[in-house]
Subunit: 468 residues, 2 copies
Amino acid sequence: MARVLTPRAEDFPRWYQDLIAKAQLADNGPVRGTMVIRPVGYAIWERMQADMDARIKEAGVQNAYFPLFIPESYLRREADHVEGFSPELAVVTHAGGKELAEPLVVRPTSETVIGEFMAKWVDSYRDLPLLLNQWANVVRWELRPRTFLRTTEFLWQEGHTAHATEADAREHARDVHKNVYQAFMEELLAVPVVPGRKTKGERFAGATNTMTVEAMMGDTKALQMGTSHELGQNFAKAFDITYSSAAGSVEHAWTTSWGTSTRMMGGLIMVHGDDNGLRLPPRLAPIQVQVMVVKAGEGVTEAAAKLRDELKAAGVRVKLDDRADVPFGRRAVDAELQGVPIRVEVGPRDLAAGNVTVARRIDGSKSPIPIGDIVGAVTSALKADQQRLFDDALAFREERTVDVKTLGDAIEAAQTGWARVPWSAVGDAGEKEANGKAVTVRCLTRADGGMPDSDEEPNLIAYLARSY
Amino acid sequence: MARVLTPRAEDFPRWYQDLIAKAQLADNGPVRGTMVIRPVGYAIWERMQADMDARIKEAGVQNAYFPLFIPESYLRREADHVEGFSPELAVVTHAGGKELAEPLVVRPTSETVIGEFMAKWVDSYRDLPLLLNQWANVVRWELRPRTFLRTTEFLWQEGHTAHATEADAREHARDVHKNVYQAFMEELLAVPVVPGRKTKGERFAGATNTMTVEAMMGDTKALQMGTSHELGQNFAKAFDITYSSAAGSVEHAWTTSWGTSTRMMGGLIMVHGDDNGLRLPPRLAPIQVQVMVVKAGEGVTEAAAKLRDELKAAGVRVKLDDRADVPFGRRAVDAELQGVPIRVEVGPRDLAAGNVTVARRIDGSKSPIPIGDIVGAVTSALKADQQRLFDDALAFREERTVDVKTLGDAIEAAQTGWARVPWSAVGDAGEKEANGKAVTVRCLTRADGGMPDSDEEPNLIAYLARSY
């Protein structure tokens, strides 16, 4: 077969950009670092959104919408926050033909403006917890942009919650992290993740604790797929989010925030993509099955349309491709590039024998199936292939994750995979040393994989890797 | 009952703002003219989005996402467009800690940036029509902001399409206007609209034709609920959107654009709201039925939970309100304010007699219903009340729309309703005169209500009204 993309093994970053362009997922925008998400890519993002949104609502969180423009003074109220975000801000200085009295920041994240309104809406302990989420665009000026992974503007959801106690805030953040984020990534995206705690140096600006879910990409680098933050009382104090307790005293609330973004699109590509293009997990795929007319005539189009109807009736997301004027080979290559999990190819010869060909993108198999068995064959293949993608990604990660005892060994192992090393063998100084060699501490976990309450706990494990 | 809102008849604009605040639909944002859409309001907007989005997809249009920031130079390429939008632009001049070489405009609409990419993606007539839509936030600096109706930032969908011929572009724009917009507003929002053509003076900046759907608000003013534009070859020429025809010649495409926004939330409130709050059309309502525990004990909570389950199983969007510690009267007032179509009130006395009370928000009725009949009673009431809201709004508009023969009579009639007058009795000069008296030509239609091909057609009817 002709080479469609730069092979992954030859040049992974170029393979990634090739795939995005050839599969028509996205284009670079006119302003450096911005992107256009094309219909093929956006359809995937819409399915991510719908599934994530249902999980967020299931967790008792309500959606709302807060303004894009934030007065510059708001950001200054939380010292760590403004220090962390200042270098990345885009600023509106003129509007309506005039210079503004106070410049407006285009939101890089919304803790500040949402904090302002939480303060307004919360009076009593009865108003807590207040659980909000918004789907929005945010802007962070990027010096080294890369499509989906790091763009000046990106789409995301940001959850923001306020609680009466630290324990309640912590429990909520952990619940979302595990039951929304980790479950979403593993069940829908078929991407296995390691949940853990960030070190102080990697924390969100203004947080007291940042939790992450980390995934291994096809080049063994790590990608942070989502984060959940405990914000302590930092924002509650900066924005005066107080409530009267049952006992009548006035207390500051405890807040959290958590976010996932179009960056997950990049992770999806780099975990599941191969030299022929994207491979979409069936549960995520906007089109699960493409029924293709190989060649028109001899009842082929009619048989293909009938199969489409049967699959649709069985709840499969199916598309009929009867563009007989476009060469079949080109259509098949495009379907592979875009990651359609199953192609059902209907041609005159097979059809005469009562068969059609089922081509599975995920395991690469291609076999004739009696036309009457298609619905059963397709639905069980979709289920098996969802699991297979996950299993393969997990096996890939496990094969490339090694347990070591020293910082030196960890940095070395991180050149070709992930290293698990006792956090006591790294520490703040070791983290700095690793960073100097382009290796970062991705997260800390307990020895049993559990989430630490603090980075001071004994016997913690650190994951070290190169990363995006 | 205690007065909850300023009565509509006393001060309509104040009633509107009161309702938005008391029903917790939205708040003013920190930057003048911006708004925060609160969970109660956002849940309504989400349902609008979902329904509109399905209709847009049904029309063959694909979603995509284009950048928020547009190079200032893009806007200048289409002369009318830049002239129309310049006074309303917000401009980013600094980003990443530096002054930008070229200022960036925060999109007021996306014809320009989408035109740039259409030019890139369209090669041949086979690539046409190209039918795109995006859900996004846009910014237009407003001097006289009003929540939902005119805000500096608002949420909307903007469709952008490119076609090989003027006829195809026109047919598409009309199809969306009638089968997406008008159908959505009448079927989902229960808001009757008059579709028509805007005069030259009221056209979108850069369009060759703007079509509108106009609705009469509760104070008899008109609100433009959505618009669809034929853009001729204006943007195709400015952005060089060309295609090679079947005959091999290179041609400019014909483009359209069409949009609806959170402004529809304002229309919904002003069409259906009354002195007790919002009245939501059942098909739109996020919560169709609130099952309320009037007083706990004697099996009331259990009976209410069972009713909730039965209604849910019947496909009704239902919420159980068992907050027995909050006075029943307050909960009922809140449900009325937020427009919940039906309350099923479960109290010990009724329950002992085998009944519950069904309170219908739309016709104000309240009656005891045997508990075994609830599912049937509720589902038929939801259906009837959807129709009733539409019928009432249509009757209201028809009673307040008069046919007159002269401009003077039209301007007079427009003080208390809408005037239908021959366009020949108005003309450009008459339009200017009317505008001087705060009356505008909302749209032109044919005598039979049909959509004119041009404002030069004979026997056109003009609708004159005061407007938002």
